[in-house]
């Protein structure tokens, strides 16, 4: 792009002025107050226009307007004719006062091409360069004030350049853009943990909405569930109601039938009592009671039994007789009995002794030899003889015999005849045995005599000569001796016992006599005792009979008393019967037999009973009638029956006949009423259950949450959360790409700027500085001379800094301008801080740009004017000299 012409319609002090430029180097020379800065501003305004902002203009716009509004008039306008790299010739006209008539026109085609470069409401020609009015101003269109401000405010220049580097439109630096993304993400999205930020709030809203939806759906589910319960309850209630209706209909039918039956019965009963209530029979209750009582006594009257047998007086005579017969011992007296026992015992002992009398033995032929000798001889003949030992020699033998004898005597004395005899006999035997034992014969053992000698001696003595014979003889001798001793002993005992027996007999005789028995001395004692004993038995029998007769007397006396009593009672009953019969009119003369009177009374009683029963029967019928009518007239009952039938017909009409029949069947059963109550209770219960559930359903329905609204809120909350998450993702991606782009741009731009700067730095600074470093992020510049250390450009002299940043602007502009285009460079007093040498070096450097760029330099410096006159030749370069503007325009 290059600028053919600019026109200031009215711009600051300029009015209807034009400047024409060549495509190469253009130096506009003028003294102070010749309008150089105004022309610089006019060029910028004509090319880039002004921002048409909503509301109040920005400060820099206000300052620009203040500085460059027309000094007179209000038609603030500027225009320019451009040549673009694509060959188009464009006129841009800027209505700076109203910002209305601003346009860019293709002068060849006559078309409005404003839309291609519209920026902030007005056409901006720098857009064809890929820049905008701000970045153009920061790089290619350097104002005098910016040059002067380089050293004092290098940061501002760097910032402006950064903006240009970021977008070529100088609206924002990349760092600011990233910061803006972060700020937007922080403020408009936030994180899940930032409670006041939208994302967290949207999440909370989603959670709340989902919970509300869950509750609403639960409400609805509960409602549906409850609806089912209600329907089930309704079905149950309807079934129960059907049963109850059937039962009611059946009940009404049964009741109507009963009422009809009652009516019929009432009609029948009414016919029985045309005269009304039946009269009660006359009152003879007391008489009836007396009759009944008398008849009762009559029926239970005692029977008069005859009393036969001995009379009581006769029995008393027999008692007196028996009393005499029973006087004396009725049993054997003790003294007699004891004496009798003693006597009989002694007799027994004596008889026993007789039985034990020992028989005498014949005497053996011992020739006068003792038993011992005989045994000695026998031993001598047979060898050594044995010693004999015999136990009867023991003292115990004698003691036993004595004890038995004493016992026998005791028994005898006591009248125990048999034991006494036995004991005495045993004792005697023991003694006898002892006495009959042979004495021991001892033959001295030292006597040794030859057998032959002995035998000879024996023979000589007339004794047997053999040992056995001798021994037999000895034994016979011994037996004989013993028997003889026994006989003696027996005799002694017999005598003693005989004496005792006589004594006992005397005592018995005395005892009998003492008990009144007449007994002579010669009377056998046993007979006397038997007689006594017989009399005792006889008296005992008499005493016994006396007792029996006395009992007989008592019985007899009782019978005789009872008999008398019955006789009296019967007499009284007869009298009572006659009196009652007389009162009852059964026997008015009172002369009939009592049995006939009793029969008459019974007949009277039967007649009265029949009359009473008949009355009671009619009374019951009357009562029944009253009960049936229940205090109402028959017509009322008829009306009731009609109503009941009508009601029953109505109820039955709404129920299936089969159901009524079934209900009627069980109603007529024994527990029909109870069943009916159960059915009604079930119906009531089912109805109440239904009502309760229906009310619950109603309340549930009234309070249930709105599911569609909850779903809408949920969807809305989800959408909002989705929007924010989606937005967060877009912002995240944008920032990620932005940071990556910044990094890549910095890596690209740094070497380009450094190379461009370094190429021109030596020429401009006359070799003082030959190398430059550019921070791609801040665009801060460091320079150094050959082999020297790096120094910040902003720390150099004002002139050097101005030159360094001028070169940086040029380099940046060259870098940023859209490919295929070239930017014009416009400088207002760009060398104002440079010495002559540096000024010329700068002008040479700028001239070196002109093959590819248009350069417009506004200057008041003589050196520049002279340099221009010398260096600018040819059509493409121009030297424009301005005159000092008049004070009043």
């Amino acid at each position: 792009m290059w600028i053919e012409r600019i026109r200031a319609g009215a711009f600051g002090p300029l009015v209807a002025e034009e400047l024409e430029f060549g495509p190469g180097m253009n130096v506009v020379i003028g003294p102070n107050e010749s309008g150089k800065s105004s022309w610089h501003a006019t060029l910028f305004a004509a090319l880039c226009g002004m921002r048409r902002s909503r509301g109040a203009p920005r400060a820099d716009d206000r300052e620009f307007a203040n500085r460059h509004r027309p000094w007179s008039g209000s038609d603030w306008r500027a225009s320019a004719i451009l040549r673009l790299a694509d060959g188009r010739r464009i006129e841009i006209s800027q209505d700076l006062g109203t910002m209305v008539d601003c346009r860019a026109t293709d002068l060849t085609l006559g078309r409005d091409v404003s839309h291609e470069i519209m920026t902030d409401g007005s056409p901006d020609g720098s857009r064809w360069l890929g820049l905008d009015r701000t970045s153009f101003l920061a790089t290619a269109c350097v104002r005098q004030a910016d040059v002067l401000d380089v050293q004092r405010n290098a940061g501002a220049l760097q910032d402006a350049l950064q903006r240009a580097a970021a977008s070529a439109r100088a609206e924002s630096t990349a760092a600011e853009a990233i910061g803006r993304l972060e700020e937007f993400e922080r403020d408009q999205i936030g994180t899940e943990r930032a409670p006041t930020r939208p994302l967290r709030q949207a999440g909370a809203r989603v959670a709340a909405a989902r919970q509300e939806l869950q509750l609403a759906e639960q409400d609805h589910s509960d409602f549906l569930s409850l609806s089912r319960e209600v329907e089930e309850a309704r079905a149950v209630a309807e079934a129960a109601q059907g049963r109850a209706r059937a039962a009611d209909a059946a009940r009404a039918m049964v009741d109507a039938d009963a009422l009809t039956q009652r009516l019929e019965e009432a009609r029948e009963l009414v016919r029985l009592f045309p005269d009304g209530e039946p009269a009660a029979p006359s009152s003879d209750e007391e008489q009836s009671r007396q009759v009944a009582s008398t008849l009762d006594r009559w029926r239970r009257k005692p029977t008069l039994l005859e009393v036969d047998g001995d009379t009581s007086s006769m029995i008393r005579s027999r008692i007196a007789e028996l009393s005499e017969q029973s006087e004396g011992d009725t049993e054997v007296h003790e003294s007699v009995a004891r004496a009798w026992t003693d006597w009989t015992a002694s007799g027994a002992v004596l008889r026993q002794l007789e039985l034990e009398r020992p028989e005498p033995l014949p005497a053996p032929e011992t020739q006068g030899h003792s038993v011992a000798d005989l045994f000695g001889y026998a031993s001598a003949l047979s060898g050594p003889s044995a010693r004999l030992t015999a136990s009867p020699e023991s003292p115990l033998w004698y003691l036993a015999s004595a004890a038995l004898a004493v016992a026998g005597a005791g028994c005898l004395a006591a009248g125990l005849i048999v034991p006494a005899v036995a004991a005495l006999a045993v004792a005697a035997t023991l003694v006898g045995i002892r006495l009959m034992l042979p004495r021991r014969v001892l033959v001295p053992p030292q006597t040794e005599i030859g057998a032959d000698t002995v035998q000879a001696d024996l023979s000589r003595r007339g004794l047997p000569t053999t040992a056995d014979a001798l021994r037999g003889l000895a034994e016979s001798a011994l037996a004989f001796e013993q028997r003889q001793a026994a006989i003696g002993s027996w005799n002694e005992r017999h005598d003693l016992q005989t004496s005792r027996s006589r004594s006992a007999q005397e005592r018995l005789r005395a005892a009998l006599r003492a008990r009144g028995t007449a007994i002579g001395e010669s009377d056998p004692i046993a007979d006397s005792f038997a007689s006594y004993e017989g009399h005792c038995r006889m008296r005992l029998e008499s005493a016994s009979r006396l007792q029996t007769v006395r009992v007989e007397l008592q019985a007899r006396e009782l019978k005789e008393k009872q008999y008398d009593s019955v006789v009296r009672d019967l007499a009284e009953l007869d009298e009572e019967l006659r009196q009652v019969a007389a009162r009852a009119g059964v026997a008015p003369d009172g002369q009939e037999e009592v049995a006939a009177l009793a029969s008459g009374l019974e007949l009277w009683q039967q007649g009265r009973g029949e009359r009473l029963r008949e009355f009671e029967s009619r009374r019951r019928q009357w009562d029944r009638l009253e009960m049936v009518l229940d205090g109402r007239p028959l017509e009322g009952l008829e009306a009731d029956a009609r109503d009941a039938r009508s009601k029953a017909d109505t109820l039955v009409a709404f129920v299936a006949p089969a159901d009524v029949a079934t209900a009627a069947e069980w109603l007529r059963g024994s527990d029909g009423q109870a069943q009916h109550e159960v059915v009604r209770a079930e119906e009531r219960e089912a109805r109440e259950t239904l009502a309760t559930l229906a009310e619950r359903l109603r309340l549930r329905g009234a309070s249930m949450r709105d599911v569609p609204a909850a779903r809408e809120e949920c969807a809305s909350a989800d959408a909002e959360l989705g929007r924010l998450r989606d937005l967060a993702e877009v912002i995240r991606l944008t920032r990620q790409f932005m940071e990556s782009a910044v990094d890549r741009a910095h890596r690209t731009i740094a070497p380009v700027l450094q190379a461009a700067l370094s190429d021109r730095l030596a020429a401009v600074t006359h070799g003082r500085y030959v190398e430059a470093l550019v921070d791609p992020e801040t665009l801060a510049v460091q320079v150094r001379g050959d082999g020297r250390s790096w120094r910040s450009a902003s720390a150099l002299s004002h002139g050097t800094a101005e030159q360094v940043y001028l070169l940086l602007r040029v380099a940046l502009a060259e870098h940023l301008v859209r490919a295929g285009e070239s930017t014009p460079f416009v400088f207002d007093d760009a060398t104002v801080q440079s010495d002559n040498v540096r000024t010329l070096a700068i002008m040479e450097t700028l001239l070196s740009l002109t093959p590819t760029h248009q350069v417009v330099v506004f200057s008041q410096e003589t050196e520049v004017a002279e340099w221009a006159r010398v260096r600018l030749d040819g059509e493409q370069h121009r030297l424009i000299e301005l005159r000092e503007l008049p004070v009043e325009r």
Binding site: A177, H220, E712, L733, F737, A741, A745, L816, A819
Partner: protein
């Protein structure tokens, strides 16, 4: 015999798709009820003999006790005219559905079996109806079905005619499917059906479509159908628009608008041509500097518009190709984003967001 047939009213359905405020959505549900009242009025005005509903009368999972009272009143108010209801998959007949738990007026007949059951409408005219007994997996009612008597036979049920499925929006499930040929094979002269929201009528069946809009972008022709059934089984039909709510889905091209004000004005002018619920998609290329937000449009006050959903699909007039050649951070940014081969929409949004950030703008949310 004259019949008014409708279906797919979907009472109590959420209107989340409208993206409107709760009170507006509630008002839409009220409008659905008014639509049913309009249909009932149509029955009376046209002196129709019966009202048919081909299912999806309400939403089983969403209905309120008030809905049941409303339906009872509306249908009961048509007595002695008969009302025949064939539950669909959204209002399927279960133990806790309105159909089962409500005490319906005597003139309302609900088909409650999942196979076609006959009802004599008139001498020689039999109506066969069936119900969905579950929210899904209902077999075709015409499978193995054949009428068992003479005369004219019509059917009422909720089912998907498979030949029409492709006319529906993607994702429509073919509940209780059938083919048109099955109607003839079954001996039916005509079927009044519901399920498809797009109205469709052939010689053998009638889908009236949803009478009240249920989404943006619905075509016309939906409503209640007044059908006259001839003695020979012939059908004459007329569709009545009974919608309470006007729903418009418009595109407003604001290309060339140089400022937010111009865009807002353009949208306002476009909206003035509509009423009810509108979804306005704002498209076009506008200057990169144009800063327009949804909130700028939401501030519009238009008396005929109940609610408007705005979708900003503006393309900023960035010369991305030119920017790509910039040796700036911006150029690098655009290059990198374009090289990343993102989803085109994401790429667009990232580019515009980044370029706006570099332009110093704070309206960084790009739809």
């Amino acid at each position: 015999m004259k019949i008014v047939h409708f279906s797919d009213l979907h009472l109590d359905v959420p209107f989340a798709w409208m993206g409107v405020a709760a009170d507006v959505a509630r008002e839409r549900r009220n409008a659905q009820r008014r639509v049913l009242q309009r249909i009932a009025l149509l029955v009376v005005d046209e002196d129709a003999d019966a009202l048919f509903c081909g299912g999806d009368l309400y939403e089983h999972d969403l209905f309120t006790p008030d809905t049941s009272a409303f339906l009872r009143d509306v249908f009961g108010g048509l007595a002695p005219r008969r009302v025949y209801l064939a539950p669909g998959n959204h209002d399927w007949l279960g133990p806790d559905s309105l159909y089962a738990t409500e005490s319906w007026p005597g003139n309302v007949h609900i088909f409650d079996e999942d196979r076609l059951q006959p009802v004599t409408l008139d001498d020689g005219l039999t109506l066969w109806g069936a119900a969905h007994r579950a929210p899904a997996n209902t077999d075709g009612f015409l499978d193995g079905f054949r009428v068992d008597r003479s005369g004219v036979h019509i059917a009422l049920f909720h089912g998907a005619e498979l030949g029409s499925l492709h006319f529906e929006a993607e994702g429509k499930q073919p509940h209780a499917p059938f083919r048109e040929a099955q109607l003839t094979q079954a001996g039916l002269h005509h079927a009044f059906v519901g399920h498809y929201h797009r109205a469709r009528q052939t010689q053998l069946f009638t889908y009236p479509g949803n009478p009240e809009p249920l989404s943006f972008g619905e075509d016309s022709g939906r409503g209640a159908v007044l059908a006259t059934v001839g003695g020979d089984g012939s059908i004459q039909r007329q569709t009545y628009d009974v919608a309470e709510t006007a729903v418009s889905d418009i595109r407003v091209d604001v290309s060339g608008c140089g400022s937010r004000t111009e865009i807002v004005t353009a949208v306002e002018q476009a909206l003035k041509q509509h009423r009810g619920i509108v979804r306005a998609t704002i498209v076009g290329d506008v200057g990169a500097d144009v800063d327009v937000q949804r909130s700028d449009l939401q501030g519009l006050r238009l008396p005929d518009i109940d609610a408007c959903q705005y979708r900003l699909q503006l393309s900023a007039a960035y010369d991305l190709d030119a920017i790509t050649h910039e040796k700036t951070v911006r150029g690098e940014f655009v290059r990198e984003v374009r090289e990343a081969q993102l989803d085109p929409n994401v790429e667009r949004r990232v580019l515009v967001t980044g370029l706006r950030a570099l332009a110093g703008r704070r309206d960084l949310e790009v739809s």
